[in-house]
Amino acid sequence: MNSEPSSPPPPAERVLPSVDLTGYLTARLGPLAFVLLFVVALSAPLAYLLMGIQTIRARAGSTATLVAELIREEAQLRPVLWRYDAPKLVRNLDLQAAQASIVRIDLSDEHGRLIELGQAPPSAADAELLWVSAPVVVTTEIARVWVGVTTDEIERQALLILLGFTLLGAGLAGMMYWLPRVAIVEAEHEVDRSQQALAHLNTTLEAQVIERSSQLREALQEVRDKEQRLRELSGRAVAMQEAERRSLSRELHDSAGQALTAIRINLQLLAGTAASESARTLAERTVELADTTLEEIRRVVDRLAPAVLADLGLRRAVERHCDDFAERTGIEVVCRCAGLDQPGVDTGVETSAYRIVQESLTNVARHAQAESVVIHLHRDDPGSPRDRIVLDVVDDGRGFDLDEVRRKGRRGLEGMRERVELVGGTIEIQAAPGEGARIHVELPVQPQTE
């Protein structure tokens, strides 16, 4: 009947969530290091190359302008023959303004034709040079100086710088990538160790909880066992008490009751045959006293052990008690009983049901100031595991405050509750001031033994 609590999973199966911090960081640092490498490797060589080419262009432009100016002066002196002496002039300037980047200086006439300067004619490869020109103007443009420069040296130096800065960028990118990664790997190890310690702690804690739970279950089971034994002892005590009461009742009924009855009969005979009035009166009074005593004995016998229950059964005993109650108190009692004639109901349970009816009517008579009481007693689900006696007592009296009654510890209601619980039943009391009261009791036909 007791359901075992579900066992927790073994502690070893609990896995703490792990976060791949290294992967998380690597996913961001790798591309960032790549961009850093690229920027560091390219920016300086690129800037050097751009500035170097600009410088070469500027120098070539200066050379072209200088040559153009000198040729202009020569052309002003010799308007026709200047172009035939230009080679020496250009060679002189080339010698004086020697620059490693200048590959060749050429001169074109006003039609764009090449003026021979005594050097090898330009080849197709010279089209790859960087050309800067300056016009020779005497009234109109009579010629143009072309200075062809190469950027090979600048490009070679830029490549060397690129190599150096690539190494520098690789170093920086490597530091940016590896230093945080090493740090995060160490931190991850720390986290792992903490998680392992936490897992160990969790395992220990859960083992302790399981151990304590087991101890609690054992204690609970022990309490339940003791409760059961107490209930059984109580049941046996009640049964013994009821048996003792029935024995006392039988003794009182059979011995004292029979004796008193015989005395009464004798007294009646004595009163009928008494010679004197005083003797007859005394006999009649004694008969009355005997009647009173018999009535008292009957009541005591009835209270000790409802013999009527054994004689008539539960249904008729309850009906008789209801009739007696109505006759004695003048309160209308409606008693409905059903299914109580079938066998299988424990004597103690029947006694408890009868006693509860008695106590309920006693309470109605003492406190309810009711005009009517309805008692409904029947048996539910006979033969099934839920086979039980169901009792409802409803009065139309003044009712009462249930909490207040509980605080005062009214013995009548508490006694009914204890009696119900001794046989494993349930009791439900509903009452409110001015609205009467209702008692609902369910008793198993056999006392519950857990």
Binding site: P31, L42, L81, L95, R113, A124, T151
Partner: protein, 339 residues
């Protein structure tokens, strides 16, 4: 529920990280690509330059011969500076005998300039102090030597030596001899490559050519680009020495020390016999097929007795005209009478 949490984290964590890694790498590659593209554009921008028309692939317009009309009595001469003093003497004598003729001798434009100017008809008669190259000879030009002049090592008067050996010349131009015997610095002056005096020295002094060219390539010495510049530098620079025309020194009576070479002075006889090996021939160059009439007349005058005398008196060695040439014939029979 709590048991599911780690599984959920484990399920969503790696995919989230992988997605982030993909996005980050894509951004990194995009940044690198942008950097490369921008760098390439910047380089392309700074390397932009106009292409010379002679390299643009379009054929240049043909060179038209100079058709500028000139007076029929004007003879224009230009060319090597070595030729100029003697030619001016000859021109003056020519004009003296023919007052109606005008001979204009321009300033030096070099032998190459004289050849090109003759080819382009910018002048009528070119003056050269070196032989025509094969390509120049094939361009319809003809050269006629008319005088030989010694090439001498001229020095500033402060130089303490008056003669050189071949080895001294090589040591001077190779830089091994940097001081004269008195301890004063030896200052070597060079002409530009292709100069006729240096070419004559290359031909006459074994081993001199490579040393001279190397000195020029290394910019070892000061370089002058015409005879006037060399003349002024030799006069003005103590300890200076350089190759110079003896005719120029003689005709101008310059205060220069003309040094002996291997014990030989640059006298006419030594030049004629070859005992003095440094010399060069001065020549006229003209268009072979369509010479100006005045050209032939002037050349005939140079090869005449009067012309030869002027050459001789100017310190030059006259050269006979080519055999079976008009000029040789005219020298035999005399020039035609002036009209």
């Amino acid at each position: 529920m709590s048991a599911d949490a780690p599984q959920t984290a484990a399920r969503t964590g790696p995919s989230s990280t992988g997605r982030m890694r993909g996005v980050a790498w894509a951004a990194a590659f995009a940044s690198a690509a942008v950097l490369v593209v921008l760098g390439g554009l910047a380089i392309r921008w700074v390397e932009q330059s106009p292409m010379p028309p002679f390299l643009a692939g379009e054929p240049p317009p043909a060179i038209e011969p100079n058709t500028t009309p000139k007076p029929a009595n004007l003879l224009r001469l230009a060319g090597s500076g070595s030729n100029l003093p003697l030619t001016r003497e000859l021109a003056d004598a020519f004009e003296a005998t023919r007052p109606w003729q005008r001979v204009r001798v321009h300033e030096s434009i070099g032998s190459g300039g004289g050849i090109r100017a003759t080819r382009d008809r910018a002048i009528d008669l070119g003056l050269i102090s070196r032989p025509l190259s094969p390509s120049e000879a094939e361009s319809g030009l003809e050269a006629i030597p008319y005088a030989r002049v010694a090439v001498v090592f001229a020095a500033n008067t402060s130089v303490p030596v008056r003669g050189l050996t071949r080895q001294m010349v090589l040591d001077l131009y190779s830089g091994e001899m940097a001081y004269w015997a008195d301890g004063s610095p030896a200052v070597v002056l060079q002409r530009e490559p292709g100069d006729s005096s240096h070419l004559a020295a290359h031909a006459a002094i074994p081993g001199f050519g490579p040393i001279d060219e190397q000195a020029w390539a290394e910019r070892r010495f000061r370089v002058l680009f015409n005879d006037r510049g060399m003349q002024e530098a030799l006069l003005a620079t103590p300890g200076a020495i350089g190759l110079f025309d003896s005719g120029l020194a003689t005709i101008q009576d310059l205060p220069l020390a003309v040094l002996e070479f291997e014990g030989q002075r640059a006298r006419e006889q030594a030049i004629r016999t070859g005992s003095y090996p440094l010399f060069k021939d001065l020549a006229f160059v003209f268009v072979r097929d369509d010479p100006d009439p005045l050209v032939a007349e002037f050349i005939a005058f140079v090869f005449s007795a009067a012309g030869q005398r002027i050459i001789h008196e100017s310190g030059y060695v006259p050269i006979d005209p080519p055999l079976r040439s008009t000029f040789a014939h005219q020298r035999e029979v005399g020039p035609p009478e002036p009209p």
